[in-house]
Symmetry: C2
């Protein structure tokens, strides 16, 4: 890649300058569209400076109080003297606009603190692009020297789950209402959770919800003594309830992963997945030129007339 790197920008990021970090994440986000090359050049240059931050994925259904939990956890990290970078992926569903705004406004207070950087990212557009951009933003925050990088996503849809699963530890947040645990299981959240939080646990049913998650998890227990059993914590994030315990549980998970060596396999898997996602996206963009799309559009008429089969058209487009 022969693009000129903005050395001033790199230097600014490395010394943790908020404006440089913000500008860099904008460059990374533009990589979802036409700005692919500058985004890549920047991430290539920063990559050697990454790998020191602990990356925390926080996900769960809409309304689980994820942003409130992230805010409370960040305050806890600040008390410990740790710096925190946050990437909050916002769903663009018209149904959730209102609640979301309120959550983000509460987060803004935090954004003014030194040692904290918050960036929200719209979930619009190609989801593969979102995953690349979210990971790129996490790289920028990591390179800027943040001790903890939190990526918050709504746990709906495969691609958003994938983002959460790219973290060193993934926390799945649920609420006590009956059925949430079962829905989480169906949505694939059980597979990616290293820790569970039943948030809003001052509501009725919290004990039962925790028990239900525990029961589902118990089906997964193997004979491997090194297996990590995801703990189920109860929190009331809006009042900082259970946050110290959550902090400790995340640390315990981190220590367990290092002690068992599991962290090595997990990181290798994540790196492989990341490269694979980049390749898929590039190959997709490379193949589907305007001409190819037009060819597909024209060919479909013959398919609808049953003159060409979908397989024949596919082979023709691939030039076989």
């Amino acid at each position: 890649m022969s693009l000129r790197i903005d050395e001033g920008l790199i230097a600014g990021i490395l010394r943790g300058d908020k404006r440089a970090i913000g500008r860099a994440i904008s460059v990374v986000e533009a990589g979802r569209g036409s700005g692919r090359e500058p985004a890549e050049a920047l991430l290539d240059a920063l990559f050697a400076h990454t790998g020191r931050a602990f990356r925390l994925g926080i996900t769960g259904p809409p309304g689980a109080g994820k942003s409130t939990l992230v805010t409370a956890l960040t305050k806890q990290y600040r008390k410990r003297g740790l710096s925190v970078g946050i990437v909050a992926v916002d769903p663009t569903s018209p149904y959730s606009g209102g609640a979301l705004l309120g959550d983000r406004i509460r987060m803004l207070d935090l954004a003014l603190e030194p040692g904290v950087f918050i960036r929200s990212m719209a979930a619009r557009g190609a989801l593969g692009g979102l995953s690349r951009a979210a990971q790129g933003a996490a790289d920028v925050l990591d390179a800027s020297g943040k001790d903890i990088v939190i990526v918050e996503t709504v746990g709906v849809g495969q691609s958003e789950l994938e983002i959460a699963a790219m973290a060193d530890a993934t926390v799945v947040v649920l609420v006590p209402e009956s059925g949430d645990a079962v829905q989480a299981m169906k949505a694939g959240l059980m597979e990616i959770a290293d820790l569970f939080v039943i948030n809003k646990s001052d509501r009725p049913g919290a004990e039962q919800a925790a028990a239900a998650v525990g029961l589902i998890l118990s089906f997964r227990v193997t004979h491997d003594p090194a297996q990590w059993i995801a703990p189920v914590l109860q929190c009331v994030a809006s009042e900082d309830g259970g946050i110290v315990e959550l902090d400790a549980a995340i640390d315990a998970y981190r220590a367990h992963q290092i002690a068992t060596g599991a962290v090595t396999g997990k990181r290798a898997h994540q790196a492989r997945e990341r490269v694979r996602q980049i390749i898929e996206a590039y190959r997709h963009d490379g193949f589907w030129s305007a001409a190819k799309r037009a060819q597909l559009g024209a060919g479909v008429a013959a398919v609808l007339a049953r003159q060409t089969s979908p397989y024949t058209l596919a082979r023709r487009l691939m030039g076989d």
Copy 2:
């Protein structure tokens, strides 16, 4: 494609012979693995004979009674003298094994009837492959002269939704329990539904559930007078309750789509999507040779050591 086509098999399918249909679907299913070329040759040969069946997608969360509804609806179609082919995609989750088996056993009675063909298909393995196989099986049933082809899937996961959305009409089945409608919305079921069924409507809460779905749908009403508003029907499929009304509602949808011309756009979109899926799958398989996978595995070590960025490794694998 220079493969020899089994003319006897084709002739058997076209005259609706059950053994020929069963064998053909096995060939199509084998196309998910190493049997790609025979599967394609068969589907290429059959394609000109497809397009006459009405394709019905039936989906919804586990436990909604989809199989019971499919059974009841099939009996109703038989009363009208229509022949029916069914592709039931079975989830392979260890959690749902028991209930599923019971449902399938009830379906077996139906399978013995003339004019009905039922095939279940495991959801294991690559999901892109599942979608191709399910559509291929629907093509076989269509070519065999079935008036109605039903594809039943569990509405969890993007790929299974895609399968349901490839139908002429998609029915989403829910139960009265509170929260089901909201979960359906989150899971993307609202977007693909042409009709809703609140099944097991003899349970408490059926009216409220129907009202909740109606409310969510009302947000989608536009000023377009030709817009189809998905009706919400209440059924008790186990007692054939509401099945005649469902049959009529599906027919009304079909008539509406033809009268407004919407069917043309929908079919063109589906054909495009199908060709696109075939291409993505082939290009994926074509790129990820054993050598390429080994190269990725070896390169990951350099990524973990922060010597190579994921983008640099991706470019190298693509031969840039």
